[in-house]
């Protein structure tokens, strides 16, 4: 799966930390939120495996843009937040 710039995506509303030990690079505040792909940053070993010294597959990493007011229900129109997110957390819309 490759996500082109401009594509709308939803971050999975998943909470693996409720199921056991894990290492996640997806902050709470974007889970379940809708954003836009800015660009593909490259492929990097999946940190969720790397952290436990398991074989870690190269995983696409994207820069994803979120509208600041829609994330928090406050803030200035036009402001945004950009985050690095791995492909398996993103659902294309």
């Amino acid at each position: 799966m490759s996500l082109a710039p401009g594509r709308s995506v939803r971050v999975k509303a998943d909470w693996p930390e409720l199921r056991g030990r894990c290492h996640i690079r997806t902050p709470h505040y974007v889970r379940g939120q809708t954003g836009t792909i800015l660009r593909h940053l490259g492929d990097f070993p999946n940190p969720e495996d790397l952290a436990f010294a398991r074989p870690a597959a190269a995983t696409p990493l994207y820069h994803v843009r979120f509208d600041q007011p829609s994330l928090w229900g406050e803030g200035a129109t036009g402001d945004d937040i950009v985050i690095e997110l791995f492909a398996h957390w993103l659902e294309p819309l």
Partner: protein, 193 residues
């Protein structure tokens, strides 16, 4: 005596000995890594910013591949994560934070300021970034959008600030002296003293 009561130097020496015996890291490799770490200071990032202000080709390279641009200025980048550079313009200001931990472009900025790792900075940079900037004495023009960059994974990010007005004709070295760590995080803006 337990590991919790041993003094730090004894622990460090024991760790170095075990690393060498198991051939994980030899003393010369550790010395090299310490040398690289010590070479990282905000003055390195400031040199890059000043060069980008004076040399459009360097600026283009810096925005495309920050690590290559840093290496061109003899900044040690071996083993460093990819370096992304965020260009501030009249329309868009960038603010860098790592909400999950303390990711920081150490090769070019050195150790982070103490507040960069604080829970307060990490929470407020994403939740109330304009309020946070005000507390750093930074007021953005109303027409300038603010983009918070949360450093959550493999990249490290630095800001390329706008060149201050009134610095026309300045030497690169004089320009570099204007640029502080906060300007390259995005909490402040370079200004003439």
């Amino acid at each position: 005596m337990t590991i919790a009561t041993l003094d730090h130097d004894t622990l460090l020496q024991a760790l170095r000995r075990v690393l060498a015996e198991k051939d994980i890291a030899q003393p010369d490799e550790i010395a090299e890594r310490i040398r690289i770490t010590d070479a990282g200071t905000p003055a390195q990032g400031a040199r890059m910013v000043a060069r980008a202000w004076c040399d459009p080709a360097f600026r283009t390279l810096m925005l495309t591949d920050g690590a290559r641009a840093a290496a061109l200025l003899d900044i040690p980048m071996r083993g460093a994560p990819p370096l992304g550079v965020l260009e501030n313009t009249a329309d868009l200001h960038h603010l860098v934070v790592c909400t999950l931990c303390s990711c920081y472009p150490r090769a070019v900025l050195g150790y982070p300021p103490f507040w960069f790792k604080s829970a307060a900075y990490r929470a407020r940079a994403v939740r109330d970034p304009r309020g946070l900037l005000t507390e750093f004495g930074t007021t953005l023009p109303a027409a300038t959008a603010l983009r918070v960059v949360d450093s959550t994974a493999d990249y490290r990010w630095m800001v390329l600030p706008q060149r201050p007005h009134g610095t026309e004709g300045w030497s690169e070295a004089a320009l570099a002296r204007l640029v502080r760590a906060g300007d390259m995080i995005g909490v402040t803006i370079p200004a003439l003293a």
